[in-house]
Symmetry: D3
Subunit: 241 residues, 6 copies
Amino acid sequence: MTTDKKSIVVFSAHSGDFVWRAGGAIAVSAARGDDVHVICLSFGERGESQGLWKQDGMTIENVREKRLAEATAAAEILGASADFLDLGDYPLNVDDEAFNHVVDLLRRYRPDTIITHVANDPYNRDHNMAHEVLLRSRMVAQAMGHKTEDPPLGAPQVLMFEPHQPEMCNFSVDLILDITEVFDVKLKAMQCMGAQSHLIEYYTELAVRRGVQAVRNSGNSSISHAEAHARLFPVVGSDLV
Amino acid sequence: MTTDKKSIVVFSAHSGDFVWRAGGAIAVSAARGDDVHVICLSFGERGESQGLWKQDGMTIENVREKRLAEATAAAEILGASADFLDLGDYPLNVDDEAFNHVVDLLRRYRPDTIITHVANDPYNRDHNMAHEVLLRSRMVAQAMGHKTEDPPLGAPQVLMFEPHQPEMCNFSVDLILDITEVFDVKLKAMQCMGAQSHLIEYYTELAVRRGVQAVRNSGNSSISHAEAHARLFPVVGSDLV
Amino acid sequence: MTTDKKSIVVFSAHSGDFVWRAGGAIAVSAARGDDVHVICLSFGERGESQGLWKQDGMTIENVREKRLAEATAAAEILGASADFLDLGDYPLNVDDEAFNHVVDLLRRYRPDTIITHVANDPYNRDHNMAHEVLLRSRMVAQAMGHKTEDPPLGAPQVLMFEPHQPEMCNFSVDLILDITEVFDVKLKAMQCMGAQSHLIEYYTELAVRRGVQAVRNSGNSSISHAEAHARLFPVVGSDLV
Amino acid sequence: MTTDKKSIVVFSAHSGDFVWRAGGAIAVSAARGDDVHVICLSFGERGESQGLWKQDGMTIENVREKRLAEATAAAEILGASADFLDLGDYPLNVDDEAFNHVVDLLRRYRPDTIITHVANDPYNRDHNMAHEVLLRSRMVAQAMGHKTEDPPLGAPQVLMFEPHQPEMCNFSVDLILDITEVFDVKLKAMQCMGAQSHLIEYYTELAVRRGVQAVRNSGNSSISHAEAHARLFPVVGSDLV
Amino acid sequence: MTTDKKSIVVFSAHSGDFVWRAGGAIAVSAARGDDVHVICLSFGERGESQGLWKQDGMTIENVREKRLAEATAAAEILGASADFLDLGDYPLNVDDEAFNHVVDLLRRYRPDTIITHVANDPYNRDHNMAHEVLLRSRMVAQAMGHKTEDPPLGAPQVLMFEPHQPEMCNFSVDLILDITEVFDVKLKAMQCMGAQSHLIEYYTELAVRRGVQAVRNSGNSSISHAEAHARLFPVVGSDLV
Amino acid sequence: MTTDKKSIVVFSAHSGDFVWRAGGAIAVSAARGDDVHVICLSFGERGESQGLWKQDGMTIENVREKRLAEATAAAEILGASADFLDLGDYPLNVDDEAFNHVVDLLRRYRPDTIITHVANDPYNRDHNMAHEVLLRSRMVAQAMGHKTEDPPLGAPQVLMFEPHQPEMCNFSVDLILDITEVFDVKLKAMQCMGAQSHLIEYYTELAVRRGVQAVRNSGNSSISHAEAHARLFPVVGSDLV
C-alpha cells in the first residue's frame, strides 16, 4: 500500500507555518510521488510578518503581496500546490462561506493524510482555530448527505506539526519523520521566507535535534535531520512497529 | 524494511495475558515470518486461575502445572516460543536474579518490538510491575557497559496491549491491529485457556468492536477483527500515515 | 430521596445518539417512574443517516422525515418525550434563538440529571457543540436574573454517555449503569433506527462487555448488560460507596 | 527589575470576580506602586447578583447600576482603575466591536502581567469566554501589523486566579501570593459587594487556608493570608527559586 | 441495599490522617450502623508529631505512646475500631510480613468500601506508599488461590480522602460527603490530636468550604459541613445521579 | 531576599546529568555567590559512558575513575562541590544506608532549592529512581523526629531539569533560565565530559533554542542562551510575574 501515490493536504493558518513546521513532510511526500496540497487560511500579514513591517512605508497590501510571493515560491520548491484563502489573521476569521470552501477543497483533494496545527496553543489562537476548522470541515466532507452528487471523504489521518513551544501546547511526539534526504530542499524553501528569516537557523537546529532523537529511538544512525509530528487518530494496520 | 524478519518479545505478567490481549499480534507476526518469544513472569496461579480453583482438591502445584500446559499449547498455536519464569503472582515478585534473567533474555532475543502491559492498572498491580520491570531491563540491556562481551540491545519499540478495563488505565489507542486473517488462530489459542474460559466470548466481542473501529478509522471495510495497542515511544520513519 | 420521581433530560446532538448511547439510562429511569425528556438538536440527516442515503432518490426532506419517525418511535418505546429542534447537522448550528429555546426547555423540564455528549470528540464536532451548548444553557437557566418571573434551575448533575471511540475522547467511566432489566426495551428502540441498523449488533456487544465489567466492579453476578457513563460534577450525598 | 513600576491588567468576566479572586493581588500591586487596571466585561447582572434579585421590585437596570456602584467602590479601595464594558452576562457576548475595544485597552495599558479566569470552568462558561477573549486579544495586541501607528504589546505573563471550585477546573497552584499586609484592604473591598455578601466569609477562610499552605511551602511563618494563582506562561529569569 | 450494614476500612499511613481527612466519613458510617475499621500503618511519630517534639525531653517511645493514646481515643469517639501496625514513618516501611498482615485484615474485615490516601503526594511519599500497599493487598485478598481455606475478598470501592494540598496531588472531587450531622463528633475527635492541634481550625474551615460547595452542587441548603473524597473505581448501580 | 546567599543542591542520577542539564543553573548560582552542591548517585559507568567503552581494553574500574575525574573537573569549573555516592547504574540501587546518607547530606547542605530529574522518563528508570529518592529523603530530612539533635530541613523548592526527550516525560517548562552570561562556563564544563562528547553540540543548540523562547516570552532580546526547568512546588511570594 505504501507504494501507491497518496494525497496529502497541509492546512496552515498563516502562509509561513507550512514551511517552518511541515516543510520536510511536504518534501518527503513530494519526493516519493505523492500529491501535496497546501491550504493557507491567511497570509499572516498582521501577526507574522515582522521582517516586512520593519521596512519603511510598508502597507498591508504590500505585505500580503510579498507573503503570497514568498509562500508560492516556497510551496513550489517543496513540490506542493497552494491555495491561499486570504481570510485575515490576528484574528483569523472563517465565516460560513470560507468554511464551505474548505469542505469543497477537502472533497476535491481527497487526502489520505492531513497535516495541521495542534488543538491548543496559548500563544496563538489562530492556530487553534485552524485545528478546529479542519476537524469540523473533515467531518462535513465525510457526511454522506452533504452535496450528495459528490462522493464523501474517507477517514484521513490528521497529523499535527510541532508548534514553536511544544511543551506549552501539550505536544506529544508520535512520529519522528526522517527528512535527511530532503533537508536541502526544506532549507531552500525556508530561505524564501524573507519576512521571518530569523527563523531559519532556529528550525535548522531543531531539525538536527529531532534527528538525534530519531537515531536514539531507531538505532538508525544515518538520520541527521528530522521533524516531529503528533498523530490525532490511531493507525490501522498490520505492522507492529 | 518491513519485509525483513523481525524479532518480537511479548512480556506477560501472568500466563494468560499474552493470549487474551496480544494473541492477534503474535499470530499476525508469526504468520509473516517473524520470530515471536513470549516471556511469562508467572502462571497467574493464585489470582487468575478461577476455573481451576473451583475444582475439588486443587493444589497450587496442580494449578501451576495446568497453567503451564495451557499456555504452552496456546503459544504453540499462535506460533511463538515461550519462557516461563515462575516468579509467583499476587503479588509478582521479581528479585535481582530474576531481573538479570530478563535482561539476558532481551539480549538473547534482541527484539525489534516488545509488547507488554500498561503502566498503571489500579485493579492489578502485577501488571504495573511487569511494565516497570520491562522498562528497567530494556534500559540495562541497552547499556554498553553491561556484560561487555555481549552486544547491547538497540532501541526496540514498546507496545502496550489493551487492559481489561481500558479507561481505568488511561489506555490510549495508537494502533488498531488488523487480525482478521488470524482470528481463527487466536480463537483456538483462547480455547486452550480452560482456567479462564469465561473470557473467550468477551475477547471475541472485543475483537469485533475494535474491528468496527478499524473500518471507521481506515475506510478499509474488509477488516472484521482487530486488537488495540498503545505505543510508548515515537515511531521513526518516513511514512506520513 | 431515591424514591422520589425525578426529571431527566437527555440532550442529543443527532436523533440517533440518545438511542444508542443512553437508551438504557432512559429505559431504567422511565421504568422507575421518572419523567424523561429527550431534546434532539438535529436529525443527523446529513451525517448520520447512511442507511437512508444509500436508497435511490433520497432527498434531505425524506431523510429528515424518516429520522423523525424513527426517533419518535424509539423515544416512545424507551418511555421518554421528545423535542426535535431541527437545527441542522454537519455542522450543527445553534443560533441565539435556538439557544434561548434550549434554556426555556431546561427551565420547563427542571431536570435533576442531564445526560449529554462528552466535551471533546475529534471525530464529531457536533457532539462537542452539544456539550458546550448544554453547559452554557444550564448556566443561563440557573441565573436568578434571567426571566425573573420564572424560577431559576437548580444544580442538575450532568452525565456524559459513552462515545463511539471512548479512548479517543478521554472518556472516563464513573458509572456503570445496570440495564439488565430493560435491555430488551433498548433493543426494541435500537431496532427502530433503520438508517443506522449496522449499529445494533455493535451496541449489543458493548452492553455485554460493560456488563462483564459491572460484575467485576461490584461482585453482583446478576448483571448481564450495562451502559458506561461519565459524571461531570461531584456527587453530594452521605453514601460512601 | 522588581523595583520598577509595573502595569497590571485584571480581566474579569463579571464585576465581582476581580474582588473575590484577585483582590489581594490588586492591593499588593497597588501598594508597591504599580498601576492596576480592572477590565470588567459585564456586571454579572443576571447571574451573579443574587442578593439584589431577592429584593422586591428589582429591575435589570437597577441591578446594573448597583453593581457598577459596588465594583467602582471596590476597585477604588483596592487601588485600581476600572473599565466597565457592559457586554451582558449569562451568556457573556463579545462581538467584534467589543473585541477591538479590548485590544485597544491592552495596547493602552501595556500590562506586564494580566490576571484572568481559568480556561475551563464547567459551572460558568462566561469565565471560559473571558479567558479565550483575553488570549485572543493579547495575540492581536502583539501583532506588528495591527494598527501600525501604535507600538505592539510585548509578552505579558498571564496569571489565572483561583476559581470557586478549583479541582473542577484543573486549577494548578503555581503562585501562592502573600496578601497578609493587604488583607484588611481586600476585606473592605469585599464588603462593598452587597449583591454577593454571602461570599465574604468564604473568601476570608480561603485566604487563611492558602496562608497556611504558604507557610508550609516557604517556611515563612509570618504569612497569615494568601491567594492562589496559576501561571500560563513560563517565567523567564535568573532566579532559581 | 443502602439499608444493609456495611463494612468500611480506613487505611491510614499515619495515626492522624484518618481523623483529619476521613473523620466525617467514619462518623457518618458509624452513625448509620456500619462497622468501621481503621488500620494505621504507623504513628507518624517522626514526621507528624510536631507538638510533641517541641516538649522537653521527648523520646520516640513517648511520642509513639502518646500518639497511640490520641488515635485510640479519636477512633473511639468516631465509632471505629483501630489496628496499629507500628511500621515506622518517614519513611514508612512495609515488609513482606507486614504486607501479609494487611492482606489478612482485609480478608477479615471484608470491606464494602476502603478509604485511603491519593496515589501521588509530592510532599509525603508515605502517603503514596500507603495507597500502593492498599491496591496491592486488595488484589491479593481477591485472589482465589491465596489461602484457599479463606473466601476471597469481593470488589470493594476505594475512596481517597482529601490531601493537605489537593491541587498538588491532582485530587479530583467525586464525592462531597455531607457531614453536617456528625461534625461535632469529628470536632471532638480532632481535639484528641494534641500533637497536631494547629490543624483543628484548618480542617474546620475546610469542612465549611466543602459545605458551601455541597450546597452549590446539590441545591440542598441544609448542608453546613462536608468532606471531599475522590473515587478510584466506577460506581455500579441503577441510580442516574 | 534575592541578595542573600543561598544553598543549592543538584541531585544527579549519573555523573554527567548535572553538567548537560543543569550546568547553566549551577554556574548562574555560583556566579551570584550561592553555595552549590552536586550529589551524584552513580558514575553512569555502565549506561552513559559510550565514549569510554569504545576504547580497547576498557574495564569498569577505569570507566569509573575517568568518569570521576571528568565530573570533578566539570563541577569545579561550574563552581560547585561534588559528592559521588558510587551506587551503581543501570540499574541504580539505593539501599537503606545510601538513603540515610542522602538524608544526612540534605540536612548538612540545607538547600533553598534542589534540582533533579523528572518523575517519569520511559527511557531511563534510573532518572525516576533519583526523583523518588529525592522526594523521599527531603521528607525524612524535614521530619522533626528524625535525628532530633539536628534541626529539620525547611521546605526547599524542587526544580526538574530538562530531560533528553522532554515531550516523552511530560516535561512542562515553568522557568526559562537565562544562562547567557555563563554559557561559556557551561561549555567548558561540557568539554570535560569525554565519555559523552557527542552531546556538546546537542546541548549547545538546545541552549540557543531555549534562548529564543526566552526572548519570545520576556521581550528581553539580550538573552541568547537559556535552560528550561520545571518546578514541582508552588512559589510563595509577593511578586506577580
